[in-house]
């Protein structure tokens, strides 16, 4: 079960974020269902060949976000009511928007130009998915 998680070495983002994202994805699509037991921190660290401390951080953040619940002595499991959807990509979106704003300023774009570009990109995406 936990060997499904695949960590990329070349992904620039911190490993704990990658782990968090993949766990949230599994919960979002239902592969890890509510109330399901998930691997302990050590088990996942061994399976992924990643530091225990990194997995521990990922779990702590996930618990803080309400995605998982850890019971002392009993291990961890998916929260009965994981508050996922808004947070799944919320932070990433915020970072990307900040980045786009910075780059836009560098390029000397006006705010309206920036927003219209964003609109066009979103529309392109809708067209591709149809």
């Amino acid at each position: 079960m936990h060997s499904d998680l695949v960590i990329s070495q070349s992904d620039g983002r911190p490993m704990y974020l990658q782990i968090m994202e993949q766990i949230k994805q599994r919960v979002a699509v239902g592969e890890w269902a509510r109330g399901d037991e998930i691997p302990s921190i050590r088990q996942l660290a061994v399976a992924l060949r990643v530091s225990v401390i990194t997995v521990k951080r990922a779990y702590l953040e996930l618990e803080r976000e309400g995605v998982i619940v850890t019971q002392h002595g009993k291990g961890s499991m998916v929260a009965p009511d994981p508050d996922l959807s808004p947070r799944l990509y919320e932070q990433e979106l915020a970072e990307h928007i900040d980045q786009a704003a910075r780059l836009g300023t560098l390029l000397g774009l006006r705010t309206e130009e920036l927003t219209s570009r964003l609109k066009r990109a979103a529309q392109r995406l809708i067209k591709e998915h149809v």
């Binding site: 620039g12 911190p14 704990y16 061994v46 990643v50 530091s51 401390i53 990194t54 951080r57 910075r102």
Partner: protein, 298 residues
């Protein structure tokens, strides 16, 4: 059960051309500590002192609750050691070494040893003399792992291994950690390995510890800030700037104590923050060493 597996306090060792100076650190049970440093920094010397192979001139060393080198025989019963400069007996076979080790250590796990033989692609009848470098390293690791020691001490365990063998070894090391009573200390100048599996990281350069922290804190603290300065803007100064590179209008600041407020501070001083890059452990390592050698940091 000890919560600290290895403790160094004020350890020093003097050689004519090299001094190991005031080494101190703690390794909690159940974690992995990675020693990073350039060649000749003192990693091997520190590890040898840990094993009692070299006696320190000053300072206290405690391993698994035992004082080194006084209680080294007892301590080594629970320590598995592999070092890059260690050789097995060339004329003997892999199988002979396995039997030899098995006769000494009661916790030898024969089924685990057999599975390691298979995974490392070694045969008991092979003579050490006929093995390639990578195979010798794996043989030595097998001998250390199959005993299931409480502490594994490894000096450059993946140096000279092909990428597939490296991942196998890292996998075996992590498997050791499945038991939270077992601990690993290893040194490497392969920062990828250290970055991947270490919990604690210690930087050594020229006989001194120049930085020590847990891995996540390291990766959190270090950032490269790519700035764009307007014509009349002044280069932002805060504490913790380790390096300033790039050109006059496009400076790149390297900091070792990043906080989000730095971004807004930069912007207040007229500098646009184009990007905030995380740094790999390798980049942190090089920046750390270069800045200290350049005298920019004490």
């Amino acid at each position: 059960m000890n919560s600290i597996s290895v403790r160094f306090e004020g350890v020093s060792k003097h050689y004519p051309h090299f001094t190991l100076d005031n080494i101190g650190f703690e390794l909690p049970t159940g974690s992995i500590l990675g020693f990073i440093g350039p060649n000749g920094a003192g990693k091997s010397t520190t590890i040898r002192i840990l094993m009692g192979l070299i006696h320190q001139d000053q300072g206290a060393v405690h391993v698994l609750g035992r004082s080194m080198p006084a209680e080294q025989a007892a301590a080594k019963m629970d320590i598995g050691f592999v070092s890059e400069d260690m050789r097995l007996y060339a004329a003997a076979t892999v199988g002979w070494h396995m039997e030899f080790i098995q006769s000494i250590y009661p916790r030898w796990d024969q089924s685990y040893a057999a599975s390691l033989l298979q995974r490392f692609d070694l045969k008991p009848q092979q003579r050490i003399r006929g093995l390639s470098h990578g195979q010798r390293v794996k043989a030595a690791l097998l001998l250390a792992l199959a005993r299931r020691p409480r502490l594994l001490v490894l000096d450059e365990p993946t140096t000279g291994l092909d990428p597939v063998a490296r991942q196998e070894v890292l996998g075996e090391l992590m498997a050791v950690l499945a038991d939270e009573e077992r601990t690993i200390l290893f040194s490497s100048h392969n920062t990828l390995d250290v970055e991947q599996i270490s919990d604690q990281i210690v930087f050594i350069d020229r006989g001194r510890i120049i930085d020590a922290d847990d891995k996540e804190s390291f990766l959190d603290r270090w950032r490269r800030l790519r700035l764009v300065l307007s014509q009349d803007a002044v280069l932002p100064r805060f504490s913790g700037i380790v390096d300033v590179a790039g050109s006059g209008l496009l400076p790149v600041l390297t900091t070792n104590c990043f906080e989000p407020r730095m971004i807004s501070e930069c912007q207040e001083m007229g500098a646009t923050v184009q990007a905030v890059d995380t740094m790999t452990l390798e980049e942190i390592f090089v920046a750390n060493v270069q800045s200290r050698r350049g005298g920019k940091l004490v």
